[in-house]
Symmetry: C2
Subunit: 268 residues, 2 copies
DNA sequence: CGTTGCATTGAGGCAGTTCAATGGGTGTGG
DNA sequence: CCACACCCATTGAACTGCCTCAATGCAACG
């Protein structure tokens, strides 16, 4: 019954209670399908919704008036999208489907209810937000200080780690549904140059990247070329565990925060 | 009595109660001074502490084995530092003083107490974290898709906005204590090229950037060159206000979360 | 079987780098 | 008060990684 990547990934971080997983599952009550390339939410549009990715890949991209485009983030199954936007009146990026996707929109106030009544889930939520910030920081290092070859290698390893975290995958193969143009937009390069780098990596027998799939031929070499120092994806969850006290009320489950119960469990 | 930039900035976002501002003030109980250039917390070191910046500028930088360095973030007075690291066992960046600074360390569990018992402060905290994520996203766009001139202009405007938000500043002048090398490390360039760009901007009568201070000569032109589209710093606080129910207990103020009171105000 | 979207390849150009030398301000010790 | 050292900024010359422009290949699809 629990196929949800979201529930699985939260459960893997802190073991979830019945009530907690029910709450998370309730965020995926309204699945909506989009075809590859479709815009799910446009830049500068009003944003009072967040999304859970149930299946498929999405991207957040920022478009400039010059026609330039930069992909800020890649969203995989189990990710909650829109947390960056929650703080603002209007979206600062376009949310677009890369493959055909199923996403589940939910209103901002659900998050509110979670913060008030489910401190452990809030903790995991913040933890994941901080990991996302760490990933963005690494990408800043990438764009600022690594050459094209290292960027591509590093990106592959990042995706591999994240896929391992959220869903199933093989050791040698990494899903890679992005086009070369999209890879270029993510890594601050041009598709022409991405093509050359991919060829070089193939000739070097490091990775064979083709549309849909990347096959790793020499993992050690790949890791060296990526100049990947730290394993920033290893979370420290100890501080969440110390947050006892959790109540998920029936009213939270149908998304009415204002009627949420104010009482809390009396046990310490 | 309230000189604290931290309290001021939180108060500006949502009007703080007495208890709430007391809690925030209590985070600044242990001021520590560092001289310009000193390391406050080293990359890969254990991180169970966060910091409030009381005065001065700090940076978070990631160093590579090649000697390359990338500045991820600039921290101004009123900022809480280390939230990115909170999720991990070890720091992924070095925290360094740019000017002489006063920072106030506080333990991770204080944050925990806040999450459990002060939902409005938690809301502002998350809001600010999301704004930081937005700023990082903009910097990714910068590094990926803007040329050196635009990067420098955009960076200046970002700092101007953030200084406006946290502390006092003039309209024409922006504090700029970073060296050209540090500017280069922040913007993914070399100090040599930064020097040339600064000269060009001076010759164009757009900004006169010198160590310590940048004087804006042509605000309109600066904004055009920066290609700054969105005003991402305008926060939407409406969703926080709807989180009623706040208790800051005496035990929170001395930093003992486990003894924190579990009762909450019964009023809606 | 043409169309459409993506990938590949080549040739030339440029923004930004590297290397290296010079200048200028500031603090320190004689 | 000078001399020296140090750090930072400036400038020049040569180089290069990546871009731009443009043509071609190639597979999927109606």
């Amino acid at each position: 019954m629990t196929d949800s990547c979201l529930v699985q990934s939260y459960d893997r971080i802190v073991g979830l209670s019945q009530a907690e997983s029910s709450f998370l599952r309730s965020l995926e009550e309204h699945p909506t399908d989009f075809a590859a390339g479709e815009v799910i939410a446009a830049q500068a549009s009003h944003c009072d919704q967040l999304f859970v990715v149930s299946s498929g890949w999405c991207i957040s991209e920022i478009a400039a008036d010059t026609g330039q485009c930069q992909i800020i983030d890649v969203h995989l199954p189990g990710d909650i999208i829109g947390t960056r936007e929650v703080a603002f009146a209007r979206r600062l990026s376009t949310l677009r489907a890369v493959t055909s996707v199923t996403v589940c929109p939910f209103p901002r106030r659900r998050l509110n209810a979670m913060f008030r009544d489910a401190p452990r889930l809030s903790g995991v939520f913040v933890l994941i937000a901080m990991r996302r910030e760490a990933i963005l920081s690494e990408r800043i290092f990438d764009l600022g200080r690594r050459d094209a070859l290292a960027r591509v290698c590093h990106f592959l390893l990042e995706i591999q780690d994240r896929l391992k975290d959220s869903c199933s995958m093989g050791e040698r193969d990494i899903q890679m549904p992005l086009t070369q143009q999209q890879l270029a937009d993510a890594l601050g390069l041009t598709s022409v140059h991405i093509s050359r780098v991919i060829r070089r990596l193939r000739e070097m027998s490091v990775v064979d990247i083709r549309r849909g799939n990347a096959r790793i031929l020499d993992p050690t070499r790949l890791r060296t070329l990526a100049r990947k120092n730290e394993e920033y994806l290893e979370l420290d969850t100890s501080w969440i565990e110390s947050t006892s006290g959790l109540s998920v009320t029936p009213s939270m489950l149908d998304g009415n925060p204002d009627a949420a119960s104010m009482e809390r469990p009396s046990g310490g």
